[in-house]
């Protein structure tokens, strides 16, 4: 404020306009970043949910016929998805039936009770989808993605 004490009214008005513009610009940048992060997060969640739903549906025979090898083969197709760090198929009693872990570093085992939900922990996002066959719940598909690309 001391700087503007001896300034002319014109300079003061210019300074106010400049400060306002800078604040608006900073606020916009901040909002844009938030929006971008949220949007990337939503996109990743949506993509992981689709993957979980499709692979879950494809695993229904392997689950019903208790073929863990076939289930692991289905999970291994996730190797093509660079941002998927781990995945697992859970039985109805939530015990792991088949697991997948990417060759890259995967986070430690994480547990969530949030069915149909997702959560982010240290840059990793976990999505869980129920596996339903003929209107009957037969298990859960859990997939963990790496959000580092979004950061």
């Amino acid at each position: 404020m001391n700087l503007l004490r001896n300034a002319s009214i014109k300079q003061k008005i210019e300074a106010i306009i400049l400060a306002t513009a800078a604040s608006v610009l900073l606020l916009s940048l901040f909002l844009f970043m938030i929006l971008e992060i949220t949007s990337t997060h939503d996109e990743t969640v949506s993509r992981l949910q689709t993957l979980a739903r499709v692979l879950g549906a494809n695993s229904s025979a392997a689950i019903t016929f208790r073929d863990d090898q076939a289930a692991e083969e289905i999970l291994s197709t996730l190797a093509t998805q660079s941002d998927v760090v781990s995945a697992k198929i859970l039985n109805l009693n939530r015990t792991p039936f088949a697991k997948y872990r990417s060759a890259a570093t995967a986070p430690d085992e994480q547990h969530t009770d949030a069915s149909n939900g997702s959560f982010v922990l240290f840059g990793f996002i976990e999505v869980e989808e129920p596996i339903v066959l003929d209107d009957e719940l037969i298990g859960y598909f859990v997939i963990v993605g790496d959000m580092s690309n979004a950061r």
């Binding site: 392997a62 019903t64 016929f65 208790r66 073929d67 066959l133």
Partner: protein, 183 residues
Amino acid sequence: MATRLLTYISIVVLSLFAVTASAAQDSELETALLKTVFIYNFAKFTRWPEDQSKPTRDTLTLCSVGDDSITNNLPKLAGRVLRGKPIKSVKISNESELGECHVLYIAQSTHNRIQEILQPIKMRPILTISEMQQFSQKGGMIELTQDQEKLRFIINLNTTRSSGLRLSSQLLDLAIIIDNEAQ
């Protein structure tokens, strides 16, 4: 003293025998139950032709011929709903009743008259299942087989295809396939 010792040993041996026999019986019951669940699941992954008579369209009939632990378990599935249809369990005593079946489980006890059972329903949309050896090569569709600890199944694709039934690709992925036509 010796008599008392002998009595104790006899009691211990008998108890051990009883426990082992009971465990074996439990395991057999469990396997039979698992096989019954497999039969139910086969129906889940099968599509029947649409052009069926009304009673056949409204229910899903699980039939069984012969007598074994699986035929005793199948009635437990009655009343369950599979793809919107209630399951009806029928124990076949007369081969003329086979027409209303969607799924037919053939027990090993009918081994001697397997052709008599399969011949009249050949080319009909009835999913035939058995754990009889070589069943899939004798004109049956799904043969249950034990592979070490695991329960596996062999599917005769040619027989299934010619009957008008459509099996899910997921089911075929898990099966050992016999395809006479392709050979």
